[in-house]
């Protein structure tokens, strides 16, 4: 008995289970044109797979992961399914809500008062493309400045000349247009 069209297409693409495959193989043994079609289909797929990659690492894969992780942390947590959503607040929880909000405001005020000293910022994801280099990011509100410390960078040769694009204009060095003192760039030392 001739196989149906859908089974034949699945057979051509090697998608049948073993029993159906054997059944159509037996039928096809007397059908050279169908055997030729299957060989041709296999050759076509093999050529495509040899030429067009099925798996490719994205450029800068570490940065890919770091950026994705930061994006996920910056947004709210993944939503729960509907049947697992938290139950609505009961009356006693509602009664405590104003006191909880007031306590949170007071705690927030004291926390902002205490955050005066310089310390590393933990929420940032810092990506260093060079292997072995570690970066730390510091932010100081009183100094109104930020510093990035790179550990593990190769020594800068003595004959390295800082290109124009990275130098400051001597005439305006340290003085802004309105006469006030502007922040100065840090100096690289070996």
């Amino acid at each position: 008995m001739n196989p149906d069209k859908q089974s034949l297409l699945l057979w051509l693409d090697d998608e049948l289970d073993a029993a159906d495959q054997a059944s159509i193989d037996a039928w096809a043994s007397g059908q050279p044109e169908w055997l030729a079609k299957r060989d041709s289909a296999r050759a076509w797929k093999q050529s495509l797979r040899a030429s067009v990659p099925a798996a490719t690492e994205p450029p800068y894969p570490d940065f890919f992961q770091a950026k994705l992780e930061r994006a996920l942390r910056e947004q709210s947590p993944a939503p729960l399914p509907l049947d697992e959503s938290p139950p609505s607040a009961t009356w006693w929880k509602k009664a405590w809500m104003p006191a909880t909000v007031a306590a949170a405001l007071v705690a927030g005020f004291f926390a902002s008062e205490m955050r005066q000293e310089t310390k590393p910022v933990q929420s940032l994801v810092i990506y260093t493309p060079e292997e072995g280099v570690k970066a730390e990011f510091f932010e100081s509100s009183p100094a109104e400045g930020t510093v990035i410390v790179l550990n593990g960078v190769a020594a800068i040769p003595d004959d390295f000349e800082v290109p124009d694009t990275a130098s400051l204009d001597p005439s305006s060095h340290g003085v802004a247009g309105d006469g006030s003192t502007a922040p100065t760039a840090s100096v690289l030392t070996p």
Binding site: W44, S51, P53, A54, A55, P58, F64
Partner: protein, 224 residues
């Protein structure tokens, strides 16, 4: 007979003796018990587990999108979008289907939206000047990555170049179905699930896509 002629005749005409491909698979597909455990932990909010899930799937998702968009930068951004959307919808994933099939479905939707936006914004033009090498400071430590230059493209294998060109000429719907079936190695059933249509539709669409692609490759050959 040059290399292309040989390979084209191999594709189009010749029943050659070849090793059959793996049953419905393009090889190193990261599906299995380990994947299932990682996805379950990620569903419980474990971001480290999700990081591992991304590591296991990103190369196939990126390749699929790269083959659709023919652009590294767009594929990079769209792949990020896929994994962000997957994280946000993770609670809705049920282990009835393979996780990779579910991811491909998200990738399909993301690329579909991108194609629609691109058609809408087609009036805008890329400012090529910002990518010209002579406008970049020669002392700069890093230079912008602009993907394959035409020269680099010429250096690619002859057949790869022809297939890339032919893929670019067919419709996005046909291109996607050829990539999912013949490059990624998915089954008809998986593709039907991803595209949200019947297996019959997938079979019919794939038939016309292959026919169109093979005709284009034949034209390339005859024009030489």
């Amino acid at each position: 007979m040059n290399k292309f002629l040989h390979r084209a005749s191999y594709i189009l005409l010749g029943p050659q003796i070849v090793d059959p491909p793996a049953h419905g698979s393009a090889g190193d597909e990261p599906e299995g018990p380990e994947d299932f455990v990682l996805v379950s932990r990620a569903q419980a909010g474990d971001m480290r587990a999700y990081d591992s899930v991304v590591l296991r799937h990103r190369n196939r998702i990126f390749a699929m999108i790269r083959n659709m968009t023919h652009n590294d930068a767009d594929a990079w951004d769209l792949s990020q979008e896929v994994f962000i959307k997957a994280w946000n919808a993770l609670a809705n994933f049920e282990a009835k289907a393979k996780f990779s099939t579910w991811l491909y479905r998200i990738a399909h939707n993301v690329v579909y939206d991108w194609n629609r936006r691109r058609k809408h914004d087609a009036a805008g033009e890329l400012n090529d000047e910002i990518l010209e090498n002579d406008r970049i400071d020669p002392s700069a430590i890093a230079i912008p990555h602009v993907g394959e230059s035409p020269d680099d493209h010429m250096a690619l294998g002859e057949l790869r170049k022809k297939i890339d060109m032919a893929l670019a000429k067919i419709s996005p719907e046909h291109r996607e179905i050829v990539i999912l079936k013949d490059v990624q190695g998915l089954s008809y059933k998986e593709i039907a699930d991803i595209l949200g249509c019947t297996m019959g539709t997938v079979m019919s669409r794939l038939f016309y896509a292959r026919q169109r692609l093979q005709t284009l490759l034949k034209d390339e050959y005859e024009s030489r």
